[in-house]
């Protein structure tokens, strides 16, 4: 059979049911009554023992949201979301913030064990191994990486944070890393000062909804001059049916501080769609640097396009101080719909924004993702490297904005957007918006679209690789520039994830 036909055959048979994180944890949970009203918001706020100012902030956002309309400009199609048919709050029953891992429900610990990503974190999270102790995962090829690697984890299960590791050690360094619900009580001044300062409550439909109902997420504050001694990470898990997850993350790097933060996400397989509308705000002051990495693997839906997570996320970083730097790296493999544009506001002079993205779509997935680089300060620099891979019947759109303000003299941007198509029933689209309001800005844009060539596959296969191994190798080569931006241990996981996501996409 000629290869083209064969690929078509394979694509027809495509099966995205290979999602290996699709199990459900059976645990009794406590939910807010279904639907959204001021009472729901009061319920959530009360559950979190929030001060009045926080409740008012939420209610303000809710009232604003009632006047807003769902955006329709993205290249994604989905049936109408019934916002009254969602639970806005779910927590494991009798949940109290655990003092130590011993207090964490064993079912939840098992869940994280089964998720297995990243192994090391899970090992530490489960208290099996102390940091710095040799790990079984180490061999000569990892060069002791698992032994020396230390990652503090905040695990968010539905609407609550179930465990945060390394809190004490971080405290010694002056770093605050805790669930945002705790930060609201313990560090109200910091939260008040920065929450909503990058993504205002009125920003957009989904961000405003999040502001009203957000349940948990991580809060990070790295004080002046401190280099955070380890990677920080949050692992998000949606478990309950019909439940939305609305997490809120706020990271502040004070003057001269540095922090690297990673997030991972998974959800059980369900026939209905679930809504995930998160907001992430980053603030980098003078000379500070924040590196934010995401490995997103929400359930993508089944082979017929049933179920899967609707991922409507607002992520924005503010390079508020001079010489500051914010870098976004994302590996997007999951979700039925991805609507996500991690952006940088380059406010400080000489500040830098970076966006490295790998977005993979297979089956019936729809991805509309990209970034915005808003140059406001002088001599600001931004760099965008986006790699989109479409397989199956999916659609993958890169949508990006690069803009230089009138005062942003000497602004520079380099954009490279590559798309790779596997099979002939998928689509890749590139929608770049570029605007320069001063004559000294230098913007470069490169874009390519290619198909995995049969020549290339045959070459690899003639050396002994199966069609799938060959595709994975070619794809890994295609995304290499971006993978290199990920912290080592996540890069390995991301590489595996890419292979899994593309399983069944070729013959």
């Amino acid at each position: 059979m000629p290869a083209v036909e064969e690929t078509v055959e394979q694509v027809k048979r495509i099966d995205v049911d290979q999602y290996k994180y699709g199990f459900e944890t059976h645990i009794e949970s406590e939910k807010a009554p279904k639907g959204l009203s001021e009472d729901t918001i009061r319920f959530i706020s009360a559950k979190k023992n929030e001060p009045d100012w926080m409740l008012d902030w939420r209610l303000g956002a809710y009232r604003r949201w009632l006047t807003m309309r769902e955006p329709g400009w993205a290249r994604v199609h989905y049936s109408k979301i019934d916002y009254q048919d969602i639970y806005y709050y779910a927590a494991p029953k009798a949940f109290k913030a655990p003092k130590s891992l011993a207090d964490v429900d064993p079912e939840i610990l098992k869940t994280y064990e089964k998720l297995g990503i990243p192994l090391k974190e899970q090992e530490i999270l489960a208290g099996v191994r102390k940091q710095g102790e040799p790990s079984e995962l180490d061999d000569e090829t990892t060069g002791g990486e698992y032994t020396s690697g230390r990652v503090a984890v905040d695990a968010v299960f539905d609407s609550v944070s179930v465990a945060t590791t390394f809190k004490e050690e971080l405290k010694k360094a002056g770093v605050i890393f805790m669930p945002i619900s705790e930060a609201i009580r313990e560090h109200p001044d910091l939260v008040k000062k920065y929450l909503g300062s990058v993504v205002p409550t009125s920003d957009n439909f989904f961000a405003t909804l999040n502001s009203a109902v957000f349940s948990d997420g991580s809060f990070v504050y790295v004080p002046e001059g401190v280099r955070c001694p380890m990677e920080l990470s949050t692992y998000f898990r949606i478990n309950e049916a019909n439940t939305g997850q609305f997490e809120r993350t706020l990271i502040i790097a004070d003057k001269g501080a540095y922090v690297s933060y990673l997030e991972g996400c998974t959800a059980p397989m369900r026939d209905e769609n679930q809504l995930h509308a998160a907001v992430v705000e980053l603030v980098a002051l003078d000379n500070a640097e924040i590196k934010y990495s995401t490995v997103q693997n929400w359930y993508p839906g089944d082979a017929e396009g049933r179920g899967g997570i609707f991922n409507f996320v607002t992520k924005r970083g503010d390079c508020r101080g001079k010489n500051s730097k914010i870098s976004w790296t994302q590996v997007e493999t999951g979700s039925a719909i991805t609507w996500k544009y991690p952006s940088c506001i380059l406010r400080g002079d000489n500040s830098r924004g970076e966006f490295y993205s790998i977005a993979i779509s297979n089956g019936h997935q729809q991805v509309d993702s990209g970034t915005k680089m808003i140059h406001l300060g002088k001599n600001t620099i931004s760099r965008i490297i986006s790699k989109g891979i479409s397989a199956g019947k999916s659609n993958n759109t890169y949508r990006g904005l690069v803009s230089a303000h009138r005062k942003a003299t000497g602004a520079r941007n380099f954009t490279n957007c590559d798309s790779l198509l596997i099979g002939n029933q998928c689509g890749a689209h590139t929608v770049p918006y570029i605007e320069a309001k001063n004559s000294s800005a230098t913007f470069e844009h490169e874009a390519t679209t290619s198909k995995i060539s049969e020549e290339m596959l045959f070459y690899c296969q003639s050396r002994g690789m199966s069609a799938e191994e060959a595709t994975a190798l070619v794809v890994n080569g295609f995304v290499r520039d971006v993978l290199q931006q990920l912290p080592m241990e996540f890069a390995v996981e991301a590489q595996k994830l890419i292979s899994i996501s593309l399983e069944g996409s070729v013959g």
């Binding site: 020549e455 290339m456 002994g464 690789m465 191994e469 295609f478 520039d481």
Partner: protein, 251 residues
């Protein structure tokens, strides 16, 4: 039993008949040269042996060690020991040569039910072979064939062959685009791999390569068939007289 037996092979590409009843045998350990004019089907034969998609086999069979390989995917054939050194090696951007070699070798070993190659053993093999072929450590880290000259690409093919240790190596116009120095290096690399356990098919348009890789037997192909077989002196005769006689004869 011959190691490779091609029996009355008929092959079409997009309804065009290319091979028209080709019969050829290659013994174990034999180096067979295949010469012929352009369009005689030499490269088609190479691709069909390796299992390239898009070639319709309408008649005949190919037996490797007595077993038909027609239904086997390219990777299964590779695991059985078939290797094709491409006339135009393909670029694989972003995949380091080292990674490519290791992935290929381990994939073959997996298919054969063998364990993965150990890191030190693998490194030693690659280092030694690349030194002989004048391939620098830096090139091993670069993307497969990306930005390499014609000669560099051909050396890479021989390196792959040395690492994969095939039982049947098919070299498709490995001499094309090589200057005399590069030709010697490549021929030397091939000669090192000559072994009583390894059969080779050296496809070439010119006799020149056969001064360096001396064949045990020379086959002449024209219009999709083997039209003459002889010893190494046949190559010299072809060099002197050209292919005109065969082109006319087969018509």
């Amino acid at each position: 039993m011959s190691f490779l037996e091609i029996k009355n092979l008929h092959v079409e590409v997009e309804d065009k008949k290319i091979l028209k009843g080709l019969t050829l045998t290659v013994e174990k350990g034999q180096v067979a040269a295949i010469m012929g004019p352009n369009g005689s089907g030499k490269s088609t034969l190479a691709y069909v042996l390796a299992g390239k998609p898009g070639y319709q086999i309408t008649e005949g069979d190919i037996l490797l060690n007595g077993e038909s390989i027609l239904e086997m995917a390219p990777d299964e054939r590779a695991a059985k020991g078939v290797f094709l050194a491409f006339q135009y090696p393909v670029e694989v951007p972003g995949v380091a040569t080292m990674t490519f070699l290791r992935t290929s070798l381990n994939a073959q070993r997996k298919t054969r039910g063998e364990g993965e190659v150990s890191t030190p053993e693998f490194m030693k093999l690659v280092r030694e072979t690349s030194a002989h072929l004048g391939i620098s450590a830096d090139m091993l880290k670069r993307g497969v064939n990306v930005g390499f000259s014609g000669g560099e690409k051909k050396r890479q093919e021989i390196l792959q062959m040395a690492v994969l240790q095939p039982r049947l190596a098919v070299l498709d116009e490995t001499d094309s685009g090589l200057d005399i120095d590069a030709l010697k290096v490549v021929a030397d690399g091939v000669n090192r791999l000559r072994s009583p356990e390894r059969s080779m098919i050296v496809i070439t348009h010119y006799q020149r390569l056969l001064n360096y890789i001396v064949p045990d037997v020379v086959h002449v192909m024209a219009k999709g068939k083997v039209v003459r077989t002889g010893g190494k002196e046949l190559a010299l005769e072809l060099e002197a007289k050209g292919y005109a006689e065969y082109v006319g004869e087969a018509a």
